[in-house]
Symmetry: C2
Subunit: 229 residues, 2 copies
DNA sequence: TAGATTGTTAATCGATTAACAATC
DNA sequence: TAGATTGTTAATCGATTAACAATC
């Protein structure tokens, strides 16, 4: 359970006008949305590796979600698979993107041009899913103008105008814990509604803003528990 | 749902001999273990900030877990709180660590001395929870001997002996996707049972080994869905 | 005392899964 | 055809929550 605070309704049945695509009019439940995102990650990587079809069993091995549940999740939106064969990877990627409404490009502002910031900017872990780092900010004047991944480091004072110009929907904080809250405040002030926090700070934001705090140590603690018992 | 594949039994009731600490003899359910880990993260940070007590309501705000459920989770193991006051942060940290059996130190081997590896080694996101990076490996001969965080970069050929000498229980892969599977194989061969994967590779490992793949983009997709709808 | 917050009950709701017919 | 895998049902199980008495 490493997802942000996002209100939801249970997804009822589809209306007659939803074109056979299931309950697209309703919001997905938290669990379904989380699992679909996960399937998408595996499918994206499977496609990179040249895989053309994939079975619910294979998807299950990589996502650790029960294969029956995978079929159930998918069949709620249409008959995407072929019996005896599996699912076409390419087409399933498109379908899930459609369901999650994340087919387009989404722009990210990255804060912190240290090791972590550079790692994020040069990785394609975001790029593969349509997220583009279009702006990088750092407090250190010496770093302004430096090239980090595809972007040039700017001063935080430019934040508000950059958010508007570049249509930024997500702010990623790769800064020391002590600097995080102040930047979160500035992001909120600039109208950004999704904050991805790589620091350890416990961020305080208005209810309409979603904070996701990355917590690898939590995941490790959890894995370790089942290893130790 | 970003946790690894870990078998479990539902946690039954505590036995009369469990010293009032609840069902410590049984395995926690997946959900309870995940949530306790999460509480621990927030409590650890709250303690750093000098907070002495915390209410289930406050914990709820930071973890996005319902406050009733937090009280329920905790009361299953003992009466840790004080009515009208809340929970003592220090003592709750100890209690949860006891329940999760992660009071001790656990040693990590880190692979990849690039930006991400350096960010991980110098962060205290792991250190705060008793994880210590005791060995760093890199394929690049030029990096051997370099100091990364508290450790010196070594050659992967030394892996097996280092795992034994340093009692390493977790391997963290901060390497390019193409290099990940080979290192995973070597970790499995050396007897490591928990692999933390920061690459995009879909790792294949024996069933007794747990792989956790970090997937910030998945979390973003998920957050974005609820933002867009 | 008055206010706050825990611990716990009881009811509901959604997630999970085994099983299997349908069908590629 | 024979084997594989989906789509779907029906039953179960665990998670979630509102409500409130207990008590600091």
């Amino acid at each position: 359970m490493s997802f942000g605070d996002v209100a939801t309704k249970a997804g009822g049945g589809g209306s007659p006008e939803d074109g056979g695509l299931g309950p697209l009019g309703d919001r997905l439940s938290l669990g379904v949305a989380a699992r679909l995102s996960r399937y998408l990650q595996v499918l994206t990587q499977a496609r990179k590796m040249g895989k053309e079809t994939i079975s619910s069993q294979e998807l299950s091995e990589y996502t650790h979600v029960n294969s029956t549940q995978i079929r159930r999740d998918l069949s709620g939106f249409g008959k995407f698979g072929k019996r005896g064969v599996g699912y076409n990877v390419d087409s399933l990627v498109s379908q899930i993107r459609k369901i999650l409404r994340t087919s387009g490009q989404h722009n990210i502002a990255l804060f912190g041009a240290g090791h972590l910031g550079k790692a994020i900017a040069s990785s394609d872990i975001f790029a593969d899913h349509g997220f583009r780092v279009v702006a990088v900010f750092d407090q250190d004047p010496a770093k302004i103008g430096e090239q980090v991944g595809p972007a040039t480091v700017r001063h935080v004072d430019d934040l508000k105008s950059v958010v508007e110009e570049e249509d930024i929907v997500v702010g990623v904080l790769a800064v020391p814990t002590a600097a995080a809250q102040e930047l979160a405040d500035k992001l909120v002030d600039a109208g950004v509604k999704i904050i991805f926090n790589y620091s350890e700070a416990l961020l305080q934001v208005p209810p309409e803003v979603t904070v996701h705090t990355s917590s690898p140590a939590v995941d490790l603690l959890y894995a370790l528990y089942f290893y130790l018992t």
